[in-house]
């Protein structure tokens, strides 16, 4: 991956929500939003709660649809326009190119932690032993006690679940990483680990777009702060 390669190219994105079952109330969230992110760059979105940071990030992941504009993401040599791409194209993109880490872990109940973390890399056809080694390394770095690895994360504390989720999000070296407050309920030690992981991702050329409420994390990883109202 070469430096200064455009990874994310958003132009003129519009998004409004219409609540059909609540009197058809409609409110606009994104108005002509545009953003470019290069390989190795970390852009942090800021703005007040409810300003649309999360909506923007979810649109980048194709988790939310948009009403207008274009979102192009680099997949190898191609730029893929995700607002019009077929579902199977987006699924392939998410599998190998586009990572998303939220603060919530959403997995099949009763699957052990180690398997939860390994799964995204296994799905790429990588050898199970390599997946397991990498998963263990990430769990260790994120201070998830080894005695929990064989247990399903359903009963873990919020912070533990969050760290399992981060390990899962970082197990594949995605060229594009979207981070939606992954450090929300972590202590200072674990926040530093996440900062290291983000810096490593940048160093290998990943484009990162994130939302962070802690100022220390923001300072440590951001190349640019972007006000969601201004994009």
């Amino acid at each position: 991956m070469t430096a200064n390669q455009l990874m994310i190219d958003v132009s003129g994105v519009e998004k409004a929500f219409t609540l059909h079952n609540q009197g058809g109330a409609s409110f606009g969230v994104l108005d002509n939003a545009s953003l470019q992110v290069q390989a190795g760059e970390c852009v942090v979105l800021h703005g007040q709660s409810g300003a649309g940071k999360s909506t923007f990030l979810k649109a980048l992941y194709a988790n939310y649809s948009v009403d207008g504009g274009e979102i192009r993401l680099r997949d190898g040599e191609q730029m893929v326009e995700i607002t019009s791409a077929l579902p199977r194209r987006i699924i392939a993109l998410r599998r190998q190119t586009l990572g998303y880490v939220s603060q919530f872990l959403r997995v099949i109940p009763r699957v052990p932690t180690l398997e939860v973390v390994m799964q995204p890399l296994l799905d790429l056809g990588v050898d199970a032993a390599i997946c397991e080694a990498k998963a263990k390394d990430l769990l260790q770095r994120l201070n998830v006690p080894e005695r929990l690895w064989s247990l399903a994360p359903g009963t873990f504390s919020g912070g533990e679940q969050q760290r399992v989720n981060i390990a899962r999000g970082f197990i594949v070296d995605y060229p594009i990483l979207l981070l939606d407050e992954p450090t929300a309920s972590l202590d200072a030690t674990n926040r530093r680990v996440v900062v290291e992981l983000i810096r490593e991702a940048k160093a290998r050329g990943a484009a990162v777009v994130g939302i962070f409420h802690d100022e220390d994390v923001r300072e440590a990883v951001a190349d640019r702060l972007v006000d969601i109202k201004a994009i």
Binding site: L19, N21, N63, S65, D75, G76, I90, V126
Partner: protein, 288 residues
């Protein structure tokens, strides 16, 4: 791919070759792949508003399509039409068969449909008793499907039955027991093993976790998810349980009164529903 990585790791100069290989593989994947199943203008109505109509979609190899909607929305009728069990009033279902090539399901010989059903297709019924023979052994239930595709060697059949019992986490010591002696969850897993033994390309599932209690559901979901991704199966799954749809399906069709009202990537449909009915459906889920 791993072998490639291992082989070139020692030599920094070959990094370029690795990247080229990666890109080639990537391009291969995006060659135009033909849909496995194409549905055009499909209609089947028992009475006005009862059945399904105007159904159009393509299913690609390796895709899991979820069909969701309330009871009576036409989901199961549609599934029956797609799986050659119910002749539609009009429209086409085109299947890209390994054996027969491209074929129109309702324009071909009945015998061809029967061959498909016992080889390239699998059907997992909501009630295991609809998909199993309850009075013959678990091993025979699996073996029967193998014999239907021409397998004759008893030892091989039994070995394959054991292999598939293990794959669905049933103790091979139970191979001679009848399904009627199994729990509901085990019956469902046996039904899945029976279907998968002939290496089908396409599986139809009708509420596969429907009658099971919650603790058994989770295990079955995990098993299904793993098998589907490991075997690269294409699946059409009918469910009214949106949590099941979220965990298994790549994309969704939301049905209401026999019509598809919304379709798209699973998490997009569930997290950002556009149609009033989908919004109602999603907002009615109890949160825990």
């Amino acid at each position: 791919m791993n072998k490639v990585i291992d082989a070139v790791q020692s030599d920094a100069g070959v990094q370029q070759a690795l990247e080229t290989a990666l890109q080639q593989e990537f391009k291969e994947e995006w060659k135009d792949i033909a849909p496995l199943l194409s549905v055009r203008e499909l209609n089947k109505f028992y009475a006005p508003g009862k059945g399904c109509g105007d159904i159009n979609f393509d299913l690609y190899p390796g895709e899991v399509l979820g069909i969701v909607g309330e009871s009576g929305s036409g989901k199961s009728t549609l599934l029956s039409c797609l799986s050659a069990r119910l002749t539609p009033d009009s429209g086409n279902v085109i299947y890209n068969s390994e054996r027969f090539g491209e074929m129109d399901l309702y324009a071909c010989e009945e015998s061809m449909r029967r061959v498909l059903m016992r080889s390239e297709w699998g059907i997992v019924h909501q009630h295991a008793r609809d998909g199993l023979r309850m009075n013959v052994s678990a091993g025979a239930n699996i073996g029967e499907r193998l014999m239907a595709v021409g397998e004759r060697h008893y030892g091989d059949i039994r070995a394959k039955a054991e292999e598939w019992l293990t794959a669905v986490e049933i103790d091979t010591g139970r191979i001679d027991d009848r399904p009627s002696q199994f729990s509901g969850g085990m019956q469902q897993r046996l039904q899945i093993a029976r279907n998968l033994v002939t290496h089908p390309k396409l599986i139809f599932m009708d509420e596969p976790t429907g009658g099971l209690d919650v603790s058994v559901q989770a295990k079955l979901l995990d098993l299904l998810r793993n098998l589907v991704s490991r075997l690269g199966l294409s699946v059409i799954i009918v469910t009214h349980d949106l949590a099941v749809a979220r965990l298994l399906a790549h994309r969704l069709m939301v049905m209401r009164r026999g019509q598809v009202v919304e379709t798209g990537l699973t998490d997009q449909v569930l997290d950002d529903p556009q149609h009033p009915y989908t919004q109602l459906l999603v907002s009615s889920i109890l949160q825990n």
